[in-house]
Amino acid sequence: MRLEWRSIIVCAVLALAIACIAVLALMTGSYTLSPGQVVSALTGGETGLVHEIVVEWRLPRVAAALVFGAALGVSGAVFQSMLRNPLADPGLIGFTQGSYTGALIVILLVNGSYVQLAGGALLGGMATAVAVYAFAYRRGVQGFRLIIVGIGVSAMLESLNTWLILKADLEQAMAAVAWGVGSLNGVSWDQVVVGGTCVLVLLLLAGMLSRPMRQMELGDDAAAAQGVRVAAARLGLVVVGVALTAAVTAASGPIIFVSLVAPQIARRLARTAGITLVPAAFVGALLCLAADYIAQHVAPTPLPVGIITVILGGGYLGWLLFTEARRRL
């Protein structure tokens, strides 16, 4: 894939912003540490609580925000490109609602452990995505039918989720809702290493699929004429897109809205004609990291990161649309 100069500059600026916020996130927290202590903890010079706070609490959280944010950005980009619809994300084929249903069942009915929660979310999401794909399959899967079936199944699951939350005990219901918007609270190295490895492999796969993806943006027939095996490529893209979101969801809950908004912001910043993967990844990472910093340090009480990604991402995209509409007069 050939990147244009503007894309490269945009990515570099995003990377710089990411680095600044990452340093800030490591240095600050409600437990006051001097920059010297933080550096010394990172280089292995501290023990006890200081080491624990910097290396075991703050560092994995920053890493998780970066990796998971990038994964969500790419996941959304894949779906929006494939379905040629700016509102597409894996939620469209029911993954988000399905994983939420799985998690709710584990949290509210089974009262299961954290590992079961991750498993429940994965299973619920995957089962739903497969069901939607299967319901939509009739001599091939066609975008429009996929969207309608996805909307129908999602609506049913959303109703079920509302019902489960309505019937639950208040405290458990709040915990479930906090999980449902996505939270990096308490993320540990275990989750980052497992989730991160999956994400990296999937990002490579996404990179390999990016050529057929761009060709398919011009239409299935045009792509087929250029030698793209459309059906196989589409299935591959669905699997990669869903799996990226799945990895994040299992580790931290569905951090909502990043996958929808990141590709749109990236496209407008880089001024590319279609959806591009790399800028989307950078925007996703920056959005998650910044949102998590705000969620932890700026909000009066700590909030799940998903709430801030929605407000930041939605607000920024809204502003972009506003200026874009003004410019095009």
Binding site: A155, W163, L260, I307, I308, G314, L321, L329
Partner: protein, 347 residues
Amino acid sequence: MTTLALRQDGPGTVTVPGPRRRLLGLVVALVVLVVLLVLSVMIGSTSIPPSAVWDALFHSSADIDQFAIRDYRLPRAIVGLVVGVALGLSGALIQALTRNPLADPGILGVHAGASFAVTVAVGLLGVRDVQGYMWFAFAGALVVTLMVLALGSTRQGSSPVVMVLAGVCVGAVLGGAREALQLTNPDAFDAMRSWNAGSIAGRPLEVVWPILPFVAVALVLAFVVAGPLNAMALGDELAVAQGVRLARTRVLAIVALSLLAGGATAIAGPIVFVGLMVPHVARWIVGPHQGWIFAYSILLAPSLVLVSDILGRVVIRPGEIPVGVVTAFVGAPVLIALVRRRKASGL
């Protein structure tokens, strides 16, 4: 902007029934609706014999069963009717306006605005009953729709695609703010849980009367703009050539749909899916004729609401499931079956 354009209706390959068949269908839908209204009064969480139902309506006394009919079931049927009509018509309007067969009134931020306003009322102002929520929900829905309209407009007029994206953004931001308020205020969260599900139970008729004039005005507006919207379906330029005033039509349609969706949400909370599915199915039945789509939506949507509500009363007797939870379970399988049966490839 090409990749942003939502998929529009391709040329359908389905034969559209003629006017007489359409009228016949309309009569059938009307009969079904009336039957459902009657069933809605007959069937409930307790068994009350039909004779007692008759007595309750026409020879009232202080019998405890009669209270159940007059105080709970009858108001509930009326609430279901009004809410269903409003939801169905507002969905038909938004789909016509955005030329997007999958648009839902919620897409312009109606539900998000209403929910946010109700959360503020509950969390910060301590409002606790349906009559109190109502005006906040209504005002929230209207203000947000107008905001989205402003955001999605340029000096040349409004673009449906930008408006939809703007609606999603505004909706998301308000949704995030709402969740933040709720998660930091357990009392508000608790009180909001049932409102969020969407229900027509336990609403006194005093909640319906103030909304009714708005719904009536919106009904008239909807049929006024039906013709111009038909012309606009073929493209803005063609519509202008036919003498349609685009900006005026869009503003009237948005005023009507926000009154309808806002009113329904004020009464029942956010009931999703009805406004999306019913007009969509109506379009499959009658083809792209807005007036007919509106008429069918007005009859089919309350039927879906009432069927769902009746089912919600009987499936977990003696408990009940709120109608907002049931509608998707009744409607979605129908929608999926229909989309699988269709021969059309574009739409």
